[in-house]
Subunit: 188 residues, 2 copies
DNA sequence: GAAATTATTAACCGATCGGTACACATATAA
DNA sequence: TTATATGTGTACCGATCGGTTAATAATTTC
């Protein structure tokens, strides 16, 4: 039961869950796709839920690492980074494998607020909100909590809209909106 | 096969799909909850997918009727209605049975862009976008397409955030953001 | 090198999935 | 009354669900 084997399973499971959904992905499909036997799978993860939680942890790590790093590459001021986030989003939307936000989907499939999967999805959003709020404060916004939350709203809305609509440019429109909100929050 | 019986089945199916999700709701559960036999169910709907599509149609009708009517109750100017939408959202979020947006969830469970369920979910959002854009144009916004899309972004973001976060007031923050965007779009 | 531990496999478990076959009961039409 | 639709319920279909059992293969420990 070497640990890198486990990581490999989580990585593959993440890919399949993200592509096909949670309920729609059976353990048998994962067993086939990973090439491992079912018993081995259940040696590494006691239940399907545990595997989903592990996949979500990896996704959180991957996404936040990429997103925060990309933002820092695109700008070196807090205000600029708040805005640049939407350019990063646009890049993400244009990827072939883009399938929306895994945590929105997790929250949609496991709706009970006490369910561990829902809780973990919520935690991801909380961490993002925290980051946006921190940037808003560093930028000198009048009400950083509010601006941080508004930036989050725009980001989540852009993701959902990118998934469901072809008729507008969510990342661009969200970026423009964020700029207006930021200017207003700095002017006060 | 009287038509009101069919409507009753769709209404109940909508309730259960909304509460528990699509993949998580089996036809057997629906048969039990509606009290009808499985054969009768399949006389009314040839497949589960057909039942889901019927439920989504009803949901679209119910939601848009309620939302647009409520907006008109709250304000009688286009600009005011764009903003009042977020008060209506806040009322919705506070309902006991609030479980997020059924169309976001449908798009999340049926991700293939060509899947009939995904297409129908997208259509709902398109209709809302159209309405917002119309209001933005009537309000005299400089770029009504853009403002309409931004209002939609804020709405979708508020819904997602209301589902996943307890730490901010999405409807209020979205409303404040919408006001800033509207003012900017009118001032130009 | 033998013993003990760990990893892996195929086969299988009851439950549930979406969907049907068929017998029966009811209603209409002649 | 009899023939013909129409609607309903039971029982069942093969496939798949998440998860387990028992035997074997590989590795470690002494």
């Amino acid at each position: 039961m070497r640990p890198n084997k486990r990581d490999e399973l989580v990585r593959k499971a993440l890919e399949v869950f993200y592509r096909d959904g949670f309920h729609a992905t059976g353990m048998d499909k994962l067993v086939v796709e990973t090439g491992v036997s079912k018993t081995s799978m259940y040696k590494h993860f006691r239940t399907k839920e545990e595997l989903i939680l592990a996949a979500l942890r990896l996704r959180d790590e991957n996404f936040r690492n990429w997103f925060l790093r990309r933002i820092e590459e695109l700008s070196n001021t807090p205000a600029g980074q708040l805005i640049a986030g939407f350019d990063a989003l646009g890049e993400w939307f244009r990827e072939d494998k883009f399938r929306g936000c895994m945590f929105i989907k997790a929250g949609a499939e496991y709706q009970d607020k006490d369910h561990p999967i829902h809780v973990q999805a919520a935690e991801h959003k909380r961490l993002l909100l925290e980051h946006f709020t921190r940037l808003a404060r560093a930028a000198g916004a009048r009400d950083p909590e509010r601006l941080g939350c508004q930036i989050l709203l725009l980001k989540e809305g852009a993701i959902v809209t990118a998934v469901l609509l072809n008729s507008c440019e969510p990342a661009q429109d969200a970026k423009a909106a964020a700029q207006v909100l930021l200017d207003a929050a700095l002017a006060g």
